[in-house]
């Protein structure tokens, strides 16, 4: 079973939120910057990879119950967005790598486990 903590370590992700646990299971991912598409497709054990940084990402992550949010391309949200995510128990992660590279790495990591 792949946990958030494994994903964070393997992909070298920066943790933005504080006090949010890493014990949830990760099974897949969704990469999309259009919120309604994320709402239509995201599954509760997905990582959501996006370059959106606005407050709305917290609510989208909350209602879809994704395991965590990875902000790609060096995107860092305002502190109040990070604070709101921490309050809501949403794990916000960041990386300088592109969405493409993050997805590739995550896909390889999750596939390696299935073997």
């Amino acid at each position: 079973m792949m946990l958030l903590t494994d994903v964070v370590t393997a992909l070298g992700l920066q943790v933005l939120t504080s006090g949010v646990g890493f014990d949830r299971e990760v099974r897949g991912g969704i990469v999309c910057d259009l919120l309604s598409i994320v709402l239509a497709k995201a599954q509760p054990q997905d990582m959501w990879i996006t370059i959106q940084r606005h407050q709305n990402i917290v609510a989208v992550a909350k209602v879809t119950s994704v395991a965590g949010v990875i902000l790609a391309d060096g995107i860092v949200p305002e502190q109040d967005v990070i604070d709101r995510a921490s309050e809501e128990g949403i794990l916000l992660l960041a990386t300088k790598e592109s969405s493409f590279v993050v997805c590739g790495k995550l896909f390889a990591l999750l596939s390696s486990e299935e073997e």
Binding site: D33, L34, L35, S36, I37, L39, A40, P44, T50, Q52, H54, Q55, N56, V58, A59, V60, K62, V63, T64, S65, E88
Partner: protein, 149 residues
């Protein structure tokens, strides 16, 4: 616990993007606290988020998001007093959007909001009159094995 009746109402202010999504996030938390299962709370949350954002983006004076919980179902009502929707069939079409540029930049405007509301509902209806407003009713059944269409 999960058999109690409850009514939750949230006012959504026009253009208040800083608060965008806060009503639906709060609603989902409340439902989970009441003992509603994750899968049903998730569907209500998605319906509420889409409704909330449409009030914020399109309704002149914002509007109201309401959820009524009974042992049978969760009924979500999204209501505003204008401008109304001229052509409901067109608005319901996947991909149709009149979202302004600033909203597109924030990830809105896929033209999937109303479709998402319908897909997550066991029952869905929309009424709208130009100049008068829009009323959307969505029901999520609470009986097990009663997934949306």
């Amino acid at each position: 616990m999960s058999d109690m009746n409850a009514s939750l109402t949230y006012e959504v202010h026009a253009g208040d993007i800083e608060q965008g999504g806060s009503a639906s996030a709060a609603l989902k938390s409340e439902l989970r606290k009441m003992g509603i299962c994750e899968e049903q709370a998730r569907r209500v949350g998605i319906i509420a988020f889409e409704g909330e954002m449409n009030l914020l983006l399109y309704a002149t004076n914002g509007g109201t998001l309401k959820a009524e919980v009974t042992p049978e179902a969760i009924d979500i009502t999204v209501e505003d007093d204008g401008p109304g929707i001229d052509d409901i069939d067109l608005a319901m079409r996947p991909g149709y959007s009149t979202a302004p540029d600033w909203a597109l930049n924030l990830g809105f405007g896929a033209g999937m909001g109303l479709v998402n509301m319908k897909r997550n509902s066991n029952f869905f209806e929309i009424h709208s009159h130009t100049g008068k407003g829009t009323l959307i009713r969505c029901r999520v059944n609470r009986r097990k094995n009663d997934a949306a269409d």
